[in-house]
Symmetry: C2
Subunit: 457 residues, 2 copies
């Protein structure tokens, strides 16, 4: 059978290829995981995806869906060869329906494009991944991605009302409805969100949107120890204030930021917290007052943005973290391994300390930062990628970080996904629930063609 | 085999019965659906439930989980006999963990009891079913119930972090974790929420809680037509205000309320909206100002509560709706059929009109009220229950209401669940997605013993 001919018949001759250069380009995402597909196919509509799946299922050919390839866990990498289905070309914003507080999109729409389209109408789609300018909404949904605003607004799954999904056998279903609220049967929408292309291919999504907050402010508080920072977060939430973002930077992160750009000038401290507060103008002032009162007895310094410019100045420091990390050592490159743990909020100070002891144990600089408001910590580690010994140390350190997070009741992935990078921890973290996932996987994809080798299923 | 002996061996002699009086008491919920079980069992812990399931699965005995029996769709009725598993005795609040914004509970805890325990600490569990004083949290979770505050706070599924579930074969899993955010595998938590006991038995739950808002106000606005009321809701949301509740009462409902208690004195109008706004003191004032500005050109009357007493006075009218409906005609009884439709927000005015034309067509008084902010409408219908002809008319009217909601892109159940009362609409509403649900059901419960005859699976 001439597979490529058949694929080209479905999507058109210039939309399916076996060119080695193309296959190479599609052999990785933004992690270190590699796997070369046999075919790259770029479908244009649901009907084509359905035909492709029917064909692939009949012949047992693996199919790995892919958006922009910004994933950090190998989720979009074709480990077993087969077809990489590049959905980035299906990128229409189909409908912006303000009256129903929802939008309909194709999976290839870039995250920031949606929010740019919504802003003039006074609305927004709250999940805010760091890769906003690059990542596709389909990828965000498939990984249940989120970002800094989760503490107040929740993750992507809270905003998906309906998905059009092509199943393994090519059948097309809608998982939800256009109503904002439904109790009619199993929540297939939530089952698909975060399933990383192992249960079906998302070809359309209806997303809930919210009105843009009218006002916003930013505060920065420095603490002698991570424990004090953790206390302040708990006390802030207990005082009835849910910040729209609540970010922690550890001592190493602040040092790196200040080295990267001396103008940033964040005070040296055991831990620094950035608060963002949003809402109506009055409520932002009230919230800022409460946070200030909570911080005062515990913080070694507090800075509240007085105008828009100062707000941007403080906030830009947080945005620079990803770039600044390269300054730890110019010969080293950041490697995304063990970078996305989540722990119960009250375990954050303990986790920060344990990461620092792991850093010493394996002689690796680790800067830790993240979304303290929801327990999500990113551990940035840099190595010389040509040095095998450093790779080994990194793997050992990451393994210990993962096991420590699970031991504290946490997760190996709070928002980046499991992919293949973290699939070996699924049994430890999820226990017998993994067996239930495997039963579901087998029921919906009996031939195991959908993104094989991922998620531990 | 002496089944009852075996059941008594597992749970204790006084906790498993075949007494006809007991079986009769457990033969219905709060709907008109009837089905007599063969055994009633009242387990006390997870281990007992696990043993019971292992036994039932081995012998193919149906098991129907039940909380307080407040369901309105026959979800807790044993249609095929077998065991009714009364979980109301497993009613411990296991942990209130303010620092992690979560509580752990057993399924039999009554909804209002949890909020009473949280209130002194300044926190609450946002879903607010009308049956708060009676319903169990296990039942609320199994049906993804909600209430008036969904428009701002979402439904129950948004607050479930982890479930301990006994599967059909007796194995025990945890579906989630204690972290507030996770992207580690399939979202089994959300799959279980709303599955009405057809996939497993919930024996523990970890729920997210929120700080109680510091301030609250209530407004009442009257409109000549439902269209104007619908406009105001859309404009309010577009103006960036998300009310904590946004309830509509149609003309019939207001007439009935005023007849029930003349002191209520809601102005006669084509439609009335009750807004509840919450947040900080300042933000509540700001929100009220916005709602007033939006309402002014469209409403025939606006009333804003000036103090706590007036707020309670206005809000108590909404609470009375369920009771007041009996005043339509003292010889008639409210029947819960077709009572829980949901439609896209912008279709609300159209749906209200169609309900009134259905009311005329079948010569049935229908009062419509509900959660306009999320598209959920309750249609209250009363009949003489001894009159077969009225039953027939009622069934025809309810059938038309259900089909109309689906035709408008809506659902036959926004918050009460499908049970057996609405299972025949699952194919029409969910299409081929029902096949996927059936595949999941068969994979997780191959012998079909978990609550058979429900949900269309």
């Amino acid at each position: 059978m001439d597979v490529i001919k058949k694929l080209q018949k479905i999507v058109g001759i210039d939309r399916a290829t076996t060119s080695p250069v193309q296959l190479y380009c599609y052999s990785s995402d933004s992690s270190q995981i590699r796997g070369t597909p046999d075919y790259v196919v770029r479908p244009q509509n649901t009907e084509q995806v359905s035909q492709l799946m029917r064909f692939a299922n009949k012949h047992g050919i693996p199919v790995t869906a892919r958006g922009a390839g910004t994933g950090l866990a190998g989720g979009a990498v074709a480990l077993n060869g087969g077809i990489v289905l590049d959905l980035s070309g299906m990128d229409m914003i189909l409908d912006i329906d303000i009256n129903n507080l929802q939008v309909a999109i194709e999976p290839g729409v870039i995250h920031s494009r949606l929010n740019k389209a919504l802003e003039p109408k006074g609305f927004f789609f709250p999940p805010d991944p760091g890769s906003s300018e690059m990542c596709t909404l389909g990828g965000l949904i498939a990984n249940n991605g989120s970002g800094m605003r989760t503490v107040k607004y929740g993750t992507t799954k809270n905003y998906v009302l309906d998905l059009e999904v092509v199943m393994a056998d090519g059948s097309v279903i809608n998982t939800g409805s256009k109503t904002l609220k439904s109790s009619a049967g199993y929540d297939l929408t939530r089952l698909m969100v975060g399933s990383e292309g192992t249960l079906g291919i998302i070809t359309k999504a209806v997303l809930k949107i919210l009105p843009l907050p009218k006002a916003r402010t930013v505060m920065l508080a420095s603490f002698k120890t991570p424990e004090l920072a953790g206390d302040v977060v708990v006390k802030t939430l207990s005082a009835g204030v849910i910040p729209s973002a609540c970010e922690i930077l550890d001592r190493v992160t602040v040092e790196v930021l200040n080295a990267y750009d001396p103008n940033i000038a964040i005070p040296d401290a055991g831990a620094t917290i950035l608060f963002e507060l949003d809402g109506t103008k009055g409520s932002v002032q009230e919230q800022a007052k409460v946070v200030e009162i909570v911080c005062k007895p515990l913080a070694s310094g507090i800075r509240i943005a007085t105008d828009r410019e100062e707000m941007e100045e403080i906030w830009s420091a947080r945005r620079l973290v990803g770039a600044a990390i390269s300054r730890i050592n110019p010969n080293k490159v950041r490697v995304y391994v063990g970078e996305d743990i989540g722990v119960p909020i009250k375990e954050i100070p303990r986790m920060l300390k344990l990461v620092q002891s792991i850093s010493k144990e394996f002689d690796l600089s680790i800067m830790t930062y993240g979304h303290i408001g929801d327990g999500n910590l990113h551990t940035g580690m840099c190595i010389d990628m040509l040095d095998n010994e450093q790779w080994e140390q990194l793997d050992l350190a990451a393994d210990k970080i993962h096991r420590t997070a699970i031991m504290l009741g946490g997760t190996v992935s709070a928002e980046h996904g499991i992919g293949s990078a973290r699939s070996r921890y699924m049994r430890l973290e999820r226990g017998d629930a993994l067996d239930v996932m495997i039963l579901i996987k087998r029921a919906l994809d009996p031939k195991g063609i959908l993104n094989p080798g991922k998620l531990g299923v």
